[in-house]
Symmetry: C2
Subunit: 210 residues, 2 copies
């Protein structure tokens, strides 16, 4: 299999970190987002939503959507588990991962896509054009701040987001924190000490460089 | 196990249809959204995002997020398969389900939550207040229309959304089409004959009444 990705894509980074935690070396195929390669005929055959990343299997099956790619890799490469081991652990891990994605990661994406001058007609990723809505910039940033406070409360009771073990939910949170700092200059406030400690530790894992 | 739900919640309907297709009879516990029961202390212990549905297991484990509930039910009640049988089929089904959810179902939700006078400070579901943004009403409706056109093209090549078998992706599409018609008066255009035929057939399944 191989992963179509971009080094500048935080969604691609989520999968790269996941692969690194699994100890999997998968060939990476760069997609040049700056040149619009994701909108070209060749890539649209691979991903009709025009987004990275996409995992392409040896028989040509193309799997898009980060949480789906992660779960597929988990199902086919079970060690070390990044969703837990039982059906219940898998469900709780996927639930936490999704909350962080929907409230946090997607909010950063919404803020930046509705802000960048180069994306005036591209406020939503995908095959269709949508005009930017300026009010979403501040709302997205506020959603991220609220998510940070909620996750800090969670991390006061739990070593990692989904429980006692590092999981895919931590990967999505790490990608969210770093994306928020870089793209919209939203940092973890000093008072959120549990989240800050968690972020410091997560950033020191070798996978964080992926 | 039991399902906390609301008869007026299209997200709850997605799980009810899924259960009906599985032939599972699960006790339903109503949550009175009109009275704000989802914001009360009791329900927040079950679901900190204040949303329905939540699946609560016999040991008290509470699973939120519709796609996570569906996958848990699939993992623990495998027949009939609603995600396909292999890891690859599961991935492709989850991918299609997510595309329809993110582009379609979530767009209807965004349009209606930013429109209803009763939700002026509740434009985003969850524990935090956000003011409505009027421009999202039209953008949400346009995203739904674009999704309908994209899915129509898909259904010209495929009997069901994710392939030759009815799946959870069809359930999410059915919930999306009916939600769009009811909540924001967006109907399937006459020219989208593949989607219209699919909808007519899906609506005739006994599960559609769930």
């Amino acid at each position: 299999m191989k992963l179509y990705h971009s080094t500048s894509s935080p969604n691609s980074r989520r999968v790269r970190i996941f692969l690194a935690e699994k100890g999997l070396a998968v060939p990476l195929v760069p997609v040049d987002l700056g040149q619009g390669e994701q909108h070209g005929d060749a890539y649209r055959q691979i991903n009709p939503r025009h987004v990275v990343p996409t995992l392409v299997l040896d028989d040509g099956i193309a799997i898009g959507e980060v949480p789906v790619i992660s779960r597929y890799l988990e199902d086919t490469h079970t060690e070390p588990p990044l969703f837990g081991r039982t059906a219940e652990e898998k469900a709780l891990t996927a639930m936490w991962e999704r909350r962080i994605e929907q409230e946090g990661f997607a909010s950063v994406m919404e803020a930046i896509r509705n802000k960048l001058p180069g994306l005036k007609t591209r406020a939503v990723a995908g095959p269709h054009d949508y005009a930017q809505i300026a009010e979403l910039v501040d709302r997205g940033a506020q959603r991220v701040r609220n998510l940070f406070a909620d996750v800090d409360a969670r991390l006061r009771d739990s070593a990692y987001v989904a429980g006692p073990q590092f999981s895919v939910a931590d990967i999505t949170l790490l990608a969210t924190v770093d994306f928020a700092a870089k793209a919209i200059d939203v940092q973890i406030p000093e008072g959120l000490t549990a989240l800050r400690s968690w972020h410091e530790a997560a950033s020191q894992r070798p996978s964080a460089k992926a």
